[in-house]
Structure formats: structure tokens, C-alpha cells
């Protein structure tokens, strides 16, 4: 019984962990190309879920999700073009304040549009009570969908950055913007693209996880904090470390329920975040020396 409970918590932790990881990767993608922390990242996850739910009343599920992803990408690109693109060498702090402003704006717009009600997509297969049983550990099919789709996102992002010209060009911009421009790469478009990409993966994760976690206009802020924690824990800019960090946070939160009241669950992320920022801002897997050379 103990062992079954252990695995039950583990699966729950992994599920939340993948979502945190996706948000963390979103932070990293934008951080890598712009050097800023985009605190509106959590709103993309919210938008993905909410738009998919709305569209699902008209369209079949896969198309509704795909459309939600595309729409959120467009919103991400639009946000960058409206608020970030025209800034000439802005201070990092100014950019961060701007993204916080954007996140409030998006949240209020969502409240206006969708109201306060909590929504969710239907289970992709099966329903709330159907479950696979792995030796006594019950796993909802939606958990498998979430783990599967998030793994696909992570793997295809990796392939994209490694094996496509566009992906390499984005990495080139992240590494040295002047030299990238010199190679003929329109670096500003790459920044727009990074926002769109971060918005897209956030939206997909938001739609996929909504049957389990539910979604409402206000989930973005919490996710942004979790995602930021994960990004810091793994080391800013390091997407693969964010995956590991996401699992660590998800599992810690999940097991905390064993020893602490549920209400303290969210405190874990904040505690880790503060501890990391004080003690090891370069992240668990980061290089302290290299970190000193960064502007932020």
C-alpha cells in the first residue's frame, strides 16, 4: 500500500512537472534570444487552454487545440511586435516590467472575455473515472496524453534547434546577435519567432493538461512563478535542465502533501525559488563562472 501510494504521488508529480518544464522551457527560449524574463509566459498556457475550450464548442477536439496553438502563437508574436520590438537597447529591468504589464493585460482581457468560470476540455480518451492500472497504481489516460505530448514537444524542440536551419539561426542569435546579423539573419524577426514559439508550446501544454488541472483566466501567474522557479533551478537558458528541474519541482510538490497541509504546496516553489536566487542563482546545472558574465 505504501509503495502504491508512493507511485501514485510520483505520477502526479511527473504530470505537473512536465507542465512546469514546458513553461520553464518557454522562459528559456525567450531568455536566450532576448536576455529577458518574459513573465507573460504563464498567460500563454492559460490562453491555450481557454481558447481551445471555446473553440471546442464549434470544432472537433484536435482541430480546436491546433487552432488554439496557432492563435496563441499569433498573440505571442503580436505582443512582441507591439511592446518589445521597437525598443532600442532597453534596460533589462524595463523589459521585465513590460512583460509583467503584458501579463496583467492579458489576464484582465481573459477575465473580460471568459469571466471567472473554471473550464476544461474533455478527456482526450476515456473520462474522469477511467484509468489504466499499473500494478495497483492507477493512471488516468489524460496523464499519459500529457506526458506523451509534452515529451513530443521537448524532443521536437531539440530536433528543431539542432537539425533545422531556422533552429540553428535562433541559437546563433542567442549566442551572438551581431555575428548573426552579419550572417544575414534578421535578428528582430528571430525574437518575434522566439515569442511565438514559447507561446505555442505553452498553449499546447495548457490545452493538453486542462482536463486534469482545469483552467481559468487566473492560472497564468501561478504557472509563471512555477515555470520561473524551474528555469532558475535548472539554470537560465538551459532548456534540457529545465525538464529535470520541472520534474524535481513537480515531485517535491506532490510528495509535500504527505507531510504538510495541501495549502502549503505552492509555498514549495517560492521557497526553492528564493533559496536558489540567494544561494546558487546560476542553477543546479549551471556554471557559476559563466553566469557571472551574463547581464542578468
Amino acid at each position: 500500500m505504501f509503495l502504491e501510494l508512493f507511485f501514485q504521488y510520483l505520477v502526479a508529480g511527473l504530470t505537473y512537472g512536465t507542465i512546469y518544464a514546458i513553461v520553464g522551457i518557454g522562459f528559456n527560449i525567450v531568455y536566450n534570444t532576448t536576455g529577458i524574463i518574459n513573465f507573460a509566459q504563464g498567460e500563454f498556457v492559460m490562453l491555450g487552454g481557454m481558447i481551445a475550450v471555446s473553440l471546442h464548442s464549434l470544432l472537433p477536439l484536435p482541430i480546436a487545440i491546433a487552432a488554439a496553438v496557432v492563435l496563441t502563437m499569433a498573440i505571442g508574436a503580436l505582443i512582441e511586435m507591439t511592446f518589445i520590438r521597437w525598443l532600442v537597447k532597453p534596460a533589462v529591468l524595463r523589459m521585465i516590467i513590460i512583460t509583467i504589464g503584458i501579463s496583467i493585460l492579458v489576464r484582465e482581457a481573459a477575465l473580460h472575455l471568459w469571466g471567472e468560470s473554471v473550464r476544461s476540455l474533455p478527456y482526450f480518451t476515456g473520462n474522469e473515472i477511467s484509468a489504466f492500472s499499473f500494478g495497483g497504481v492507477r493512471v488516468s489516460p489524460q496523464v499519459l496524453w500529457t506526458l506523451g505530448i509534452c515529451s513530443v514537444i521537448v524532443i521536437s524542440l531539440n530536433l528543431f534547434f539542432k537539425y533545422t536551419m531556422l533552429g540553428r539561426e535562433m541559437r546563433a542569435c542567442a549566442s551572438n546577435r551581431d555575428a548573426a546579423a552579419l550572417c544575414g539573419i534578421p535578428t528582430r524577426n528571430m525574437v518575434t519567432l522566439s515569442f511565438a514559439l514559447a507561446a505555442g508550446i505553452g498553449a499546447l501544454a495548457g490545452a493538453v493538461v486542462s482536463p486534469i488541472t482545469q483552467t481559468s483566466y487566473s492560472i497564468g501567474t501561478g504557472l509563471a512563478i512555477k515555470g520561473f522557479t524551474v528555469a532558475i533551478l535548472g539554470g537560465l537558458g538551459n532548456s534540457m535542465a529545465a525538464v529535470a528541474a520541472g520534474f524535481i519541482l513537480g515531485i517535491l510538490e506532490s510528495f509535500s502533501i504527505w507531510v504538510m497541509p495541501t495549502a502549503y504546496k505552492d509555498a514549495i516553489a517560492i521557497t526553492i525559488l528564493l533559496a536558489m536566487l540567494f544561494v546558487r542563482p546560476s542553477g543546479l546545472f549551471g556554471n557559476k563562472e559563466a553566469f557571472r558574465l551574463k547581464d542578468f
Partner: protein, 254 residues
């Protein structure tokens, strides 16, 4: 018609007149050098030509288009590649990946195609790899293709940067102090290399401190002093120009 024509180019940084009313032209297929003491405005001139800085006044014509005031990526796309005095490679990427990024201006891979990896993107990807490897072979560093670029030796990193510039198949190559930090033998190799690049039909404009290199390979030499052009002649004539000798060659070179 000259390939590159610079007319009355000026650039001021606060109280410093970095480039003042400079005009010259570069004919197709030649190696032209820009020399001058430290602070003469050579690198600023290169930044103006490659779009990293915008001239206050003056014009730059490349082929039949005015390129002054354009962004660096647009100028690169029009056929001018450059290298930097301080090597700027992409870290966390292999040497080959660095060079393939240089192919950007020759590739069509758009955003949607890149995301969906359409069939022809694979064909193009193969071509990008081949051409990039060719450029690396030309510089004799093909065997380093899969090493992390920033882990290579200084001379090898220079070669990677040069391969990246060549991978774009530019019509004109701007080299910013390519011999900086090289020993005598490496400098001699570099001289051969620049001549071979020219022989491939690429016009070369080079900023350089190393006088032996400049005198050996250049067809024409522009001399700058305090942002102004004081000579624009054949190497031999420059060496005899009294004004040049007083501001540049007369000084201790170290």
C-alpha cells in the same frame, strides 16, 4: 563601374570625428587594404560599410544599390560578408553548425517550412551541409567540423569565422585585422589564403596592421589618419608617400 563606391562618408561619436569625409572605390576582383594607426577610424569605417553603424553623412553604393543606412542583415544578404577583429563565433555550437548559419543568405528555408520540415527542406539542408563543408575544406579545417567551435585554437577559430563568411558565397569580403594574433608563418599562410579567395572571384577589402601582409597582397591601399583619407594608391607608392611615412610608417610598429 566599381563594385563598391564610398562617397564622402562621415561618422561622429560625440566629440570624436571617427570618420571624416572619406571617399574611395573598390574595383571588382581586387584586394584593397585600409591601413592607418590605431584610432584612425578603420574599424568604424568597416562598421559603416557592414551596417553596424549608420553614417551621419555620405553614401555607399554596392553593385547598383545604395546600401548606407541598411541593417547588417540586409547588407549581408546583398553580398557582403565580414569577419571581426575579435572573433565572434556562436558558442554551444559545432564548427560546422557555425558555418552553416553563414549559409543563411543562400537558403530559402522559411519559418513554416522549417517548422514542418517539408521534403525540400531536407534537400536544402543537405546542400547547406555540403557547401559549408566545402568552405571548411577550402580553409583546411574540415576535420574539425564536429568540434565545439569555441573550444578550438585561436587560429582555427579564425578559420571557422572565415569559412562562415565564405559559406555565404559573398561577392565581397571585409576582413577586419585577420592577421591579429597570428605568428609569422600563419600570417604568410593567411596571405596565400586571401589571394586564393580573390582568385575565386571574391573582392576583398582588408583592414590590417601587419604592413608586410598588406604590401605583399594588396592591389591598392587606402591610408586613414584621424578619420581622414590621406592616401589611396598602389602599395609601392604608399610606401614612398611622405605624408604616410610621417603618420604611420615613421612610427614604431609594436
Amino acid at each position: 563601374m566599381a563594385l563598391l563606391e564610398v562617397n564622402n562618408l562621415s561618422k561622429r561619436f560625440g566629440g570624436l570625428q571617427a570618420v571624416k569625409d572619406v571617399s574611395f572605390s573598390v574595383e571588382r576582383g581586387m584586394i584593397k587594404a585600409v591601413i592607418g594607426p590605431n584610432g584612425a577610424g578603420k574599424t568604424t569605417l568597416f562598421n559603416l560599410l557592414s551596417g553596424f553603424a549608420e553614417p551621419d553623412t555620405g553614401e555607399v553604393r554596392f553593385r547598383d544599390a545604395w546600401i548606407h543606412g541598411r541593417g547588417p542583415h540586409q547588407i549581408a544578404a546583398s553580398g557582403i560578408s565580414r569577419t571581426f577583429q575579435h572573433i565572434r563565433l556562436f558558442s554551444h555550437m559545432t564548427a560546422l553548425e557555425n558555418v552553416t548559419v553563414g549559409r543563411h543568405v543562400r537558403s530559402r528555408a522559411g519559418f513554416v517550412a522549417g517548422m514542418l520540415s517539408l521534403p525540400w527542406t531536407h534537400r536544402e539542408e543537405r546542400e547547406i551541409r555540403e557547401k559549408s563543408l566545402n568552405a571548411m575544406e577550402f580553409l583546411g579545417i574540415a576535420h574539425l567540423a564536429h568540434d565545439e567551435a569555441t573550444s578550438l585554437s585561436y587560429g582555427q577559430q579564425r578559420a571557422v569565422e572565415l569559412s562562415r563568411a565564405l559559406a555565404a558565397e559573398p561577392e565581397m569580403l571585409l576582413l577586419d585585422e585577420p592577421a591579429a594574433g597570428l605568428n609569422m608563418r600563419e600570417t604568410a599562410d593567411l596571405a596565400n589564403l586571401i589571394v586564393r579567395i580573390r582568385d575565386r572571384g571574391i573582392t576583398v577589402l582588408i583592414v590590417e596592421h601587419d604592413m608586410s601582409l598588406v604590401m605583399k597582397i594588396s592591389d591598392e591601399v587606402v591610408v586613414l589618419s584621424y578619420g581622414e583619407k590621406i592616401a589611396d594608391e598602389k602599395p609601392l607608392a604608399v610606401q614612398k608617400d611622405p605624408q604616410v611615412i610621417s603618420v604611420y610608417l615613421g612610427e614604431d610598429e609594436c
